[in-house]
Structure formats: C-alpha cells, structure tokens
Assembly symmetry: C2
Homo-oligomer: 319 residues x 2
Amino acid sequence: MEHVTVLAGGVGGAKLAHGFALCQPEIHLTVIVNTGDDFDHFGLRICPDLDTVCYTLAGLANPHTGWGRKEETFEVLRLVGELGGPTWFRLGDKDLATHLERTRRLREGQRLSQVVESFCSRWGITARVLPMSDDPVRTMVHTLEYGWLGFQDYFVRCACQPAVKEFAFEGIEKALPAPGVLEALERSDLIVIAPSNPWVSIQPILSLKGVASLIQTKKVVAVSPIIQGQTIKGPAAKMYREMGIEPSALAVARQYQPYLWGFVIDELDRGLETTLKSSGIMILITQTIMHHEEDRLLLAKNILAFSKARKLEQQRREF
Amino acid sequence: MEHVTVLAGGVGGAKLAHGFALCQPEIHLTVIVNTGDDFDHFGLRICPDLDTVCYTLAGLANPHTGWGRKEETFEVLRLVGELGGPTWFRLGDKDLATHLERTRRLREGQRLSQVVESFCSRWGITARVLPMSDDPVRTMVHTLEYGWLGFQDYFVRCACQPAVKEFAFEGIEKALPAPGVLEALERSDLIVIAPSNPWVSIQPILSLKGVASLIQTKKVVAVSPIIQGQTIKGPAAKMYREMGIEPSALAVARQYQPYLWGFVIDELDRGLETTLKSSGIMILITQTIMHHEEDRLLLAKNILAFSKARKLEQQRREF
C-alpha cells in the first residue's frame, strides 16, 4: 500500500489532509502537524494546528471559521470576560474540553504524541496524526512595530497587522521529531507539503533535526498556498511582501526547491507554468481551492495520480 | 460601626456569611475563608470554599447543591468525559470561567487575595472576602482504607466514604495569613465561627500562624454545625464518630472552648443547655438551620443581638 505523509499547519493543511484521509484505506496516511503555534493560556496547553487538523479529520470542525468546533458555544469565555479576563483568543466551550484534558494528561507525564493518539482514537480518526515534536518549539515573529511577539500574540491578538522582519523557532535546536515522525517520512512513497503558510507552518517542521535531509531523498510534492499572489486565508502573502519577496506560487516553489519533486499550482496560475517547468520540477495544474469536501478529495486524488508520473531526468536549476 | 469577622468553610459558612452580609451597612463584614480544600485540577487552581462563599454572597450560587453556580451547564465536562478524562469533580461551564481567570492571574504573579478582591468587586460583593492565606495549604485526610488522601480525593472522589484517622494541613507551618486577615481579626468586635466543618474547614484557619492566639483575646461566638448529632451537610458528624468522639454540639463546644465567648445551638438541641452553661460559655438557643434567605439574616441578627449580652464573670471549666 502507498504510504503518504502530509506536512500540515492549520486550516489549509487540515483540508488537504482530510482529502487524503478520504482516500483511505487505499493509502496509508500520516499527517505531521506544526506545533510551533502552541502556547499556554489560562494555564492550559493550546495546540491550534493539531486541533484544527484533528477536528477537521473527525468531522468536528467549524466549516466557517477555519478554527474551533462546529456548533460551538462561548459561555465560559463570556464569563471570563465579565471577570476582566482576556477574550482575544476565542476559546469555545467544546474546544476547552480538549485543552483541559490535554493539559491534565501532559501534567500527568504523558507525551503530546500519546495524547494526540488517544484523542484521535476517541474521535474515530483513522489517519495517523503526529505532532512534529513532543518538545516545546515556539514560533516567534519579529515585527517592525513591537519587536518579537509570540505567534498567537501576532496572529490572533494583533490580527497579523504588524509587519514581519524575521521568524525564529525557539527550542528548535533541542527539539526532537516526535516518535514516528522520521519513520513515517522514511517509509513514505509520497510526502505532501500542504498549502499551509511556508514561513510559520511548514518551516518549523522542516527545521526539525533530521527532517530536511531526510525528505530531500524522498518524492516531495508541495501545494502552493499562494494563488494569484494571494492566500485563501492567513498572512502568508503579506509576509512575503514584508520580507521583500513578491508573493506568488513562484516564490513558494523557490522556497521549497531543495525538496521538490513536484509542485501543484492552481488553474488560476496557469501563466506560471513555463517558468516553473524550466526549473526541472514536475508541475500539476489543477483546482487547489477547496471550497467543498469533494474538492479536498479531488485534489488529493489528483496529487496521487500526478505522483505516479514518470519524470524525465532534467537538471534542476534556478528559475 | 461594629466590625464582624466570620471564619467560614463552604456551604454552611457561606450561608451564615450571607446572613451577616444582609446586615450591612450597619456592620462592617469580613469573611475569612478556608483554602485548605484548594487543589489543582486540569492545571487550574480550584478554591471550592472561596467560590462557594463568593457565589453565595453574589447571589450566583446554586441553591440546591451547596456548590457551583445556578443555571449551570456541564458541556465542557461532558466532552472531557468523551475524551476519557475524569469527571468526578463536577466543573460547570460557568464555574470554569472562575478557575480559568483565577489561574491566569495567579500565573501572572497576582496573589490569591488580590484575585479574590478583584472578583468580588466584579461580582458586586460588598463584604470583604479574604482567603485565609495566599500560601499553599493542603488539607490531607488520613484514612483507614487508603492512607493519606488529598482533601478533594476524600471528599468528592471517595464521597467521604473512607473512615478518617487524622488530618494534616500541609504547608501550614510556612503559610502566612493573607494580607488583612490578622488586621481584620484584631479590629473585630465580634468573630463568628460559622457552622462549617470544625476538622477540615475551621481548623486550618485556626492553625495559621498568629490566628489562634489572637482570637483568644477577642469575643468569639461559634455556631454548632452539629444538630441532634447530625450535620445538615457534609461529613463532620461521621468524622467525630471515626475520631472516637460522640458527635454533638457539646463535642463542637469542647473543641472550640479555648476561644469561645459564646456558642449557638439549635432549638432542637435545647436539652444540652444546662451542660453547656456549666462551662461558663454564653449560650444562644435559636433556629440555626438556614433553609431560606430569611433564615440566614435572622440567624445573623440573633447572633449580633446575643453578642451584646453582658456576661457574668464566671470561671471557665471543663464540661
């Protein structure tokens, strides 16, 4: 059976992971999820990307927001607000149960990967979901206006408004890939970099000890999160601009070039085909915007078919 | 204005404190609350007696349970249960907001007494509510069946079923009375020991450095939590029996004797009057069972009137 591993951040990664999950049991799916966004709030450990991926795979996700659970209520947070507490991070009542029980288990000594495995089993998730690491990694955003900010401060509290200068992943040197991460990558017939934010969702995973060198030996396909210079959701395009790079699928391909066997761009970016092909990377042009559940499945199937293509030997070169 | 300080545990203490609160602004009220029951659960700091007292004073308490809030829901805990987490401690959604924001502030470096002051202000509580200490004190219960148990393990998880052998208040030697506690006691014209559990609600307060010696110099009135050998709520009578003492208002009076100016027993215990009077303690016989809000006010008023009585000089003696 074909082993597929998806590297994912939040909403875009969750949607594509779900598409591949719908291809089961014909494939064996592992999803490796960014934990650089994780943070402690009210004493609870919150793992936004892991929860978005798991809620999506379990059919529990809110289809409108890109975060949190469907049929959510906010009674606890409303009363926290009445006590003068912070309400900028929208903790729903259902969502809180996840954070409470995860925090309890972590304090009891369980590793994050064990907690995720148990939750996935409870939620009936058949794909294997792995946090990128059980060790703390904290994505920090260096901003023009406020200096270094924790990711959630930048992302939620400041609504991505500050201009970014650089990123750092605190703890990344000491962090080990979670149990199963390197094994899953090693075993993979196909590694898919989901249309997540390259700077803050995928880069932390690629920066983990052993990951980059391993995936350079494997068949890697990335899906561009940038379509016509814009993102469906999130600040990736804005970040490219602030880092002095014109946001486009080309910029994404350049960033991932050391790893890429193939690259997936949206039909709306068909004009980039010639330039991209000159790089020696295989190109799939298809609908990458996932409005509906069927779009997720179709994109996953298209990528699976694409990955079977014979590649002519061609020198990789700058483009 | 008369300064009244109430020493309180949970529900019985909360009700009588509420009675005195209804006597404001004619009196100046301070309530000193046991924190020996406090514990950490899901990474959150939970202060059961403080919350029961504050919810009661704020009119937010559940009138039926003796804990928690009225119009409570349990959505978060239901989902924690679905994840396989513990649900023996009944954390309601509204109640959780208190624990979250308290935990956040404590982690931010605020002292418990500051947090309580702020919450009381938000909840419109006019009495001054003080935790007995800002330092950790943990009531431990030595049981026949299971050895030493944390208080909530004994009280909630084991539903008070194990037989008790002794009690310990971990941290009590190092704990300091919270800011304002000794000052409030010093300034008090009347100190009322509420009808709370003498072993695990009042004893921790009395065991704090400086409290016992200070209140021996003051006018102290205790209300018996034991009526006709039984308690309205909680394991006090059972504890007396397991400690080899016949549970009765007499046993309570003996326990508090070093501090007592006066003692309040229920009309149902009128038969104990003669024995109690022989001890040299002033005795008030009145309705102490607080079914309704008016009962709380009436009991408080009766105690205030009682405390004005002239006491004949009489030798205190064993009884």
